[in-house]
Amino acid sequence: MAAVEAVGAYTLLRLGDDGGDTGAPGQFFMLRAEPAPAAAYLPRAVSAAWAGDGELAFLLDVRGAGTRALTEARTVSVVGPLGRGFDLAAGPSILVGGGIGAAILPWLRRRLEQRGDVRTVLGFRSPEHAVCAGIVDPDATVVLDPVLVTEPLARLLPASATVYACGPDRMLEAVAALCAEHDVPCQLAMEAAMACGFGACYGCAVRLDGTWKRLCIEGPVVEAARVLA
């Protein structure tokens, strides 16, 4: 059912598209190996790397029991698309990815290229992790730890472009601050521990507009201003 291949340190999981709605870049799916392993009863939130041509592809950072089971399962259950994806603006774009945050960008880039020039900056912790830059954007600017993505990003700003970022919280905060400084519109794809993905559990609390909000309903993509508020 599922095809699995290594992309450097990450793993690409390709599922057959059953013909349902596959949503838009930035939305996510809840994936679970079936039968559910004792150590991973809850599904895992994962954004599609791309969808179309009969497949739904996910780039996974295999960390624990849940993601490992996904790469070993004969059957994967899929719930989604869920949440709010990116709001595709007209004009040039800058994509910023940190680590597995890059997973969300290939599909986004394909869509944005139809709207204007796209530049990509990616940061990884090792060359093995950086291998996936190739499937995001062969022309991406790639930095490795300890260099931060904000360094090449700062060189691109100010710009009349929209910034789309996905990566660890610390990186998102820095990107948001930098964009705010230059008054550049910025959207962040955030992460939180999610049990359900559809607003039921109230587990995915993140600070938005100064209060705890459910990321699965309000996001995972949010305007950077809401995080800074």
Binding site: R32, V79, G199, C201, A205
Partner: protein, 308 residues
Amino acid sequence: MSSPDLHADLCGIRFGNPLVNGSGTLDALAAGTLGLGAFVTKTVTLHPREGNPPVRIAETPAGMVNSIGLANPGLDAFCADHLPRLGELGVPVIASVGGWSPSEYATAVARIGAHPAVAAVELNVSCPNVESGCIAIGTDAGETRALVERCRSETDLPVLAKLSPSVSDVAAIATAAAEGGAHGLVLINTVRGIAIDRDRLRPLLGGGGGGLSGPAIKPIALHAIFHARAATGLPIIGMGGVASAQDCVEFLAAGASLVGIGTSLFADPGLPQRMLPELGRLVRQHGAETIEDLVGVAHPRLSSSTRA
């Protein structure tokens, strides 16, 4: 339809099927009712609550521990914004109420019980995720009895008491709720548990402690339901780890009249829709005509059709 009758009854309310959500495990305004026979609201408190800081959920074997902290919009917003829309769901609405003192409960029950959208009121005296208040009441038989008595006098709707399994003698607390005049019981709320952060080796959840739910607790739930039913004969909404039609039948047999699903909805929101035909098949396989025929059949001496 040739399949058996899946209607269910509890305290004189008729339900299209015996499945409900557990309080706090579905936002019907965001996701619909998923085919459930009733909707139970997240616990509402007098004042709005932001809830606990993250981390709020941690996965555990065949389950999860949560420390949401009763995040809710508060009584005013609930009555003004939520209840009118909940009234349009097309299924009976059971409103869950929490508080830090009997008078807080009473105020909420009076307001909510007067709203036409509400079919029954559930008293959450068993939330493990707040420092004091509801959980403290629900571990004491006397306080439980007094609270139920007080709330009953505030409304004409059926009043259900939702109990915790984290007590020495759940039958004693159930009996106290019955003595206080509860029309029914809801069992079980989450089981007290914690998670340790595997990286920092500190309690993981923002609220410190938490409540365990999911298939892991199914045997604990069946135990509590079986003994609460034996002790009181009250109708019960049974829940705790239900994940299949087979589970549902076991909960009915142990003494539940309606069966709640919480954590398994997170993993599989299509579950109730898939469970219903299978439930029909199992009901017939056990030689029963209706859901009610199976309620309490695991009890040797109780009539299998005790009505509320």
